[in-house]
Symmetry: C2
Subunit: 374 residues, 2 copies
């Protein structure tokens, strides 16, 4: 057996589940903090666990370049290296090659690219990506795909999707099954329902351990994203986890969970933590704003994270203004806590059959705006 997925409760399309892996279990819907180069920026693994995170994501592209897959293998894998005891999902490297590297050349075989760090040339094939993720001791491996750019005509999107599907089969074939480890395929097809449907059909033939929805949040806007996401999620097998890649804002997560998605990752809570943006239920607070400079209140009086329990907005403002590392630590901690609490609340709402109510309350709350200045 690879990894197992057990659904514990449903509410409409949404479900609460539990994924069991060789490195422990995690509840779904799950938000995976992003540990780009083998660290969730500004967080210790202990702090991550205290936020409620049970699984994290690491980026194959970054890790293959620094410190290198073979080096990580010698250190016992990415989880052991970074002292994170839980499961780690790694992406395939494809997305970052497209967004970060120079002089990319795509062929049937794979992608040739130059490192954005030192210009060295690398080749990533589906087989090589799976091999690297094996070296990383990834708990959940992602198949190599091409993230179709937006906008893309049906013809272009079809060709791109078909290549991704051939790469998906090759990825699955290259993956050595191991108890408690799994591999997910990635649905592509741009904004075209027919192609998305075709992509799902093709992936299901390979019988992956879970299915990701890729190629969204690429500039198409919320409405179209929700439409394609909802359509695709419904087509996917009910008994496997569904992972919406790279999404997103809190409201996106609420919509995606309602549509039946189970797993998420996004740099938003961590990146925002380093630029002074804090998520609270009623707003996104820009702590750099001068209105906070004398405010003795916490970011969110109802939040139980260490940042809100211990520190004022005035102090956070000061830390961010003086570029102190502690500012990044505390706001990242709050943001990840906020995301994990949101997932927890949604799991509870699904169990009690109240997700629709939760979702509409959430959207109303989000419109309220931050507390009034003192």
């Amino acid at each position: 057996m690879t990894i197992s997925f057990e659904i514990e409760a449903c509410d409409g399309e949404a479900r609460v589940g539990r994924v069991r892996t060789a490195r422990g279990t995690f509840a779904t819907p799950a938000f995976m903090p992003v540990g780009t180069v083998g660290t969730v920026k500004a967080m210790t693994p202990e702090a991550l666990a205290r936020c409620g995170a049970e699984i994290i994501l690491a980026n194959t592209y970054h890790l293959m370049l620094r410190p290198g897959a073979e080096r990580i293998a010698c250190l016992g894998g990415v989880g052991k290296m970074m002292a994170w005891p839980g499961p780690v999902l790694t992406d395939s490297g494809g997305f970052q090659i497209l967004s970060l590297s120079k002089l990319r050349k795509l062929s049937e075989k794979g992608v040739t690219f130059q490192s954005h760090i030192d210009g060295t040339q690398h080749v990533l094939t589906p087989e090589r990506s799976v091999q690297i993720q094996r070296d990383l001791h990834s708990t959940i491996t992602m198949a190599l795909d091409e993230c179709t750019s937006f906008p893309a005509s049906k013809d272009v999107a079809a060709k791109s999707m078909e290549l991704s599907m051939r790469w998906a089969s090759r990825s699955k074939a290259a993956f050595s099954p191991k108890s408690g480890f799994g591999i997910f395929g990635i649905v592509q097809g741009g904004m075209h329902q027919e192609l998305r449907s075709e992509s799902v059909g093709s992936l299901v033939e390979s019988d992956f351990d879970g299915y990701a929805i890729g190629g969204l949040a690429v500039g198409e806007g919320s409405e179209l994203m929700y439409e394609i996401m909802g359509y695709t999620a419904k087509k996917l097998p009910i008994d496997k986890p569904r992972y919406l890649m790279g999404v997103g804002r809190p409201a996106d997560l609420v919509e995606a969970v309602t549509s039946g998605c189970d797993m998420f990752d996004c740099v938003l809570p961590t990146r925002s933590g380093r630029t002074g943006q804090a998520f609270v239920r009623n707003a996104v607070v820009n702590i750099r704003n001068h209105r906070h400079k004398d405010d003795p209140r916490p970011l969110d009086a109802s939040c139980r994270c260490p940042t809100c329990l211990g520190y004022s907005r005035a102090y956070l403002h000061h830390l961010v203004q003086t570029k102190e590392i502690l500012g990044a630590i505390l706001i990242t901690w709050h943001n990840l806590h906020y995301y994990q609490e949101l997932m927890k609340e949604m799991r509870a709402a699904i169990r009690s059959g109240e997700l629709t109510q939760f979702s509409s309350n959430f959207l109303v709350d989000e419109m309220k705006g931050d507390i009034e200045p003192l």
Copy 2:
């Protein structure tokens, strides 16, 4: 009563003591991590306490400029603002004015200077410095002094010391005694024993709650520093804490404790933590060095800090190479733990009358160098 100092054990000139303050007690010899702008860089207060720190230092100069003394007063003082529950010693601001600010003008009255941040003009008199430290809710206030530059002729050093002594009396007069809060005077006099002796005599007349030795570690070299430090410490009242300011390297602390100094502060462990320099008993490890890139061993196999318990040199090397915040967090944590353990070991050695043995073992160990590469 202001603050109290109780000596629990002696070994030669060295002593183990306990200082009681309004914000809790601390054992001496004590090392105070430096919380420059109201945060010990890269550390949470919780992590600081876990290192064994019982008192921290904050810089009046930095805090008066950002976020400002009145603002901190409104937030309940620097300790409350930064969620550090223990005592906080603040310096007088004099040292940083000399090292950081522009267009300084010294007069009998005080110092006029321009902020290094925005060029605004400020005046710091002994009275204003004490007032600011009161606004900061400083547990231990330092009298304003002029740190005599090095080298200084006896005439120059005498004039500078005499000014500092007049400022010390004015500082003491401006200080409002409050139960559990105290004020320390600072001995100056350059490298001239006679002046140091005179300075001690002058300060003792004002009956401070503790005495600091200032104007050392300014480029005079270890030998001269140890001589002046040892000479001055012996002249100071036996029943008050002695604080050696801005020192220093681990070997300096061993020598200073042996000479009868009780309190220390230095940016070395924290600053080094942000540049990849780690203190271990046998060496200072430069983790950037390529020799560590595949080394699965911890910084120090005998160390019980979270960094050494959880992480390899290879991973720390990777974090520092990729400029990840976690690298600064983990190495700073290790360094502060190292410093606090050193103080703890010295307190134990004094109690068992073995400080001389400890000191000679320490110096031998320091010469051994880092573990061999694998």
